[in-house]
Amino acid sequence: MFQAQTGLRTAKALRLALLLAITITTALWTGAAAAQSAAQRAVDAAKKGCAGKTITIVWEAGLQSLDPLNFSGPKWEQLTGCKVKVVEVPTAEMFTKIMQEYRAGTGAYDALNVVPAWMPDLVQAGALEALDPYVDKNGFRDELQKIAPTYRDNQMKVNGKIYGFPDDGDVFLFYYRKDIFARPDLQQAFKAKYKYDLAPPKTWKQFDEIGSFLTDALKGEGIYGASFFREPTYAQLMFQERFRNEGGKFFDPQSMKATVNGPVGVRVLTEMRNENRFMPPGVEKFGFVENLTVFLDGKSAMTISWPPYGRFAAGYLADEKALAWVPKSKIAGKVGYALPPGGHPELALGFALSVASTSKQKDLAYLFIQWLNSDEVSTQRVQLPYALRDPFRDSHYTNKDYMAKWPDAKDYLAALGDAAKTGLLDLSLIQTDKYEESLRQAMSKLWAGGDPKGILDDVAKQWDEITQRVGVDKQKTVYKGWAAKSGAYPAPSK
């Protein structure tokens, strides 16, 4: 009897277990199927409507557009029959071209690459299509969730609605020469002078100390402690990052008055100017390439820049024809990766994929960007040898293939993964460009020798004027929306 009952219970348990196993497996399988076929679903849906049609997408001219020209465009056409026409536009002209075509109602562009900081303006003007209905219709929400937190929570929505898919993990990463930092003679001398270990700086004060120390110590070898791209277009992004890391706030949320000229701002500008002294001469004019040249040449021990630096420094696929313009790296294997001082890097620029509201083929355009942004396809795209698209999905940071690309790649991806949790979103309001222009000019004046307080007072005045012109209440609402994002201001550090 007892045995029979046990047997019955066992049988029941077995059946239960089996049922559970089947359920879990089915769920997993369905889940997996659902996850893996977002790309496939896009392809299938597109195949139905494509025949002979062409989708036009705006892309940054130069290296970036090699992706749709040589890889994703032809592949999409092969899979669906839709042709892809790539309109290459230099970044400086992208906003202009998009607005221009929109204002004229030409319908010339179907899909767009959009810098997230522009999204409030474009949405306000009505140029971008709200994507929620499409996302739900095609079941893409889950996959969107798997984009790394910083990008997902900051670069996708405006006023709570989805207007773009973050598609590029742009972030300012800190690069340093681990070989220099590991030198015992330097370590000893530094510890003796400053009483803490020579290591990647956690604060800007440490950075200043390490930088000036290294420049002095390595003078004989012609190496500088650090170099940055100080050209105003880039410098203003670095200012945004530092200012916020040090606790600064751009506006008073109640009155919408600019508070950028407070003591924090002045201190940051003063420090930035002083730092130039231990950096290579002419650093005020360094752009992306000049700074890269100096770093790859081994002439600076620390720098901050976008993810491509990491790949270029490692000499990754340096023989690729498209990368012929990249200076040869003399420091492969000697580069360490970390978060910039302060721990909250700027998500400088970046790109999101959107659909133009005046497009006549919105469904097809949407399907193309869903496919591009899907887990499966984006993983391939960020690994393209000539890619400037940086990892931006959780899965990218743990991708085995990527980690095998060069010896330190896993550290690189780990650092990027960290950055993707703590990044700061560029200021994005209505007429962002006007505010940024004011900052660019401020940097320009700083390098020309102006006084930080005076410069920032001008900025604050200009910002207030712009806010007045836009409409204080309107801007207040948009600012509130921006400030509520996780990437607007760093959580107060412990």
């Binding site: 001219a61 130069g62 002209e93 024809k321 200076p327």
Partner: protein, 266 residues
């Protein structure tokens, strides 16, 4: 005379140096371009930068420039010379028409490029050869009209009157008598008009997208935010400048006359 010649050589060297620099950079490898200190000649001349432009299809923009500049020059010369003849021989429209035509030249392109863009959207002429050709024609017309008017005024009327008396029609007189006599002026004006259209930037930037981009627009594509293609920039610039240099070399006589026309005669 010796020191004059020396001075001339020195002067010419100074003025040509930047052009030499541009050409030289286009032959350097990207690495060499970023070598410090900069070298004044490439260690070996290599055409890779140009090869890339052809392979990527960027060089087709030079062809676009050629098509657009040639067509608009022909059109402007045709329309403009006819109009000029009427103004010269008949004073058509009197002072008002003349003044109005001059005033068209006061308008800075930047002021009107957006309305023209809107107009083109309506007409469907954006990013088409026709659109760009017409805009260049329109902007060169005042120049052509005034130059040719001057040249035609210099041709004695007696020849035409004689032909008319002989029973030729007005059109025959135009084509068979006036045009040949104004040949020098036609040449000079055509060359300068061609150069304007070839080097133009703003309208090409705004009114083209992918099909009809000219070389001046293409050059600006290489100024990236996260890349720097000095090699391509210089190669493309040279590619777009060479045809003009060739034109100048062959036509320098007419060119000099064209530029200094009114001066000599006035």
């Amino acid at each position: 005379m010796v020191w004059r010649t020396l001075a001339a050589v020195a002067l010419t060297t100074c003025f040509l140096f930047p052009i030499y620099w541009l050409f030289m950079i286009s032959f350097k490898t990207p690495e060499e371009i970023f070598a410090f200190p900069p070298r004044w000649w490439p260690s070996h001349i290599q055409f890779d930068n140009y090869a890339v432009l052809f392979k990527d299809g960027d060089a087709v923009t030079v062809w676009n420039s050629l098509v657009v500049a040639s067509a608009s020059t022909v059109l402007a010369m045709l329309l403009g010379t006819l109009c000029a003849y009427s103004l010269a021989r008949f004073r058509t429209g009197g002072v008002h028409l003349s003044n109005w035509i001059i005033s068209q030249r006061m308008v800075p392109p930047i002021a009107v490029v957006f309305p023209i863009f809107l107009m083109y959207v309506f007409l469907g002429w954006v990013d088409t050869y026709l659109g760009l050709i017409l805009v260049y024609t329109a902007f060169n017309l005042p120049y052509v009209i005034w130059m040719m008017r001057g040249y035609i005024l210099d041709i004695p009327v007696s020849l035409e009157e004689a032909a008319l008396v002989d029973g030729w029609t007005r059109w025959q007189v135009l084509w068979k008598v006036v045009m040949p006599m104004a040949r020098a002026g036609l040449f000079a004006t055509a060359i300068l008009t061609f150069i304007f259209a070839w080097n133009e930037f703003l309208f090409a930037l705004v009114l083209t997208r992918t099909e009809v981009a000219t070389y001046t627009v293409q050059v600006t594509h290489y100024f990236g935010g996260q890349s720097g293609f000095w090699a391509k920039i210089s190669a493309m610039s040279v590619l777009g400048t060479l045809p003009i240099f060739v034109v100048v070399a062959f036509m320098q006589r007419y060119l000099v006359r064209g530029i200094s026309l009114g001066a000599v005669k006035g």
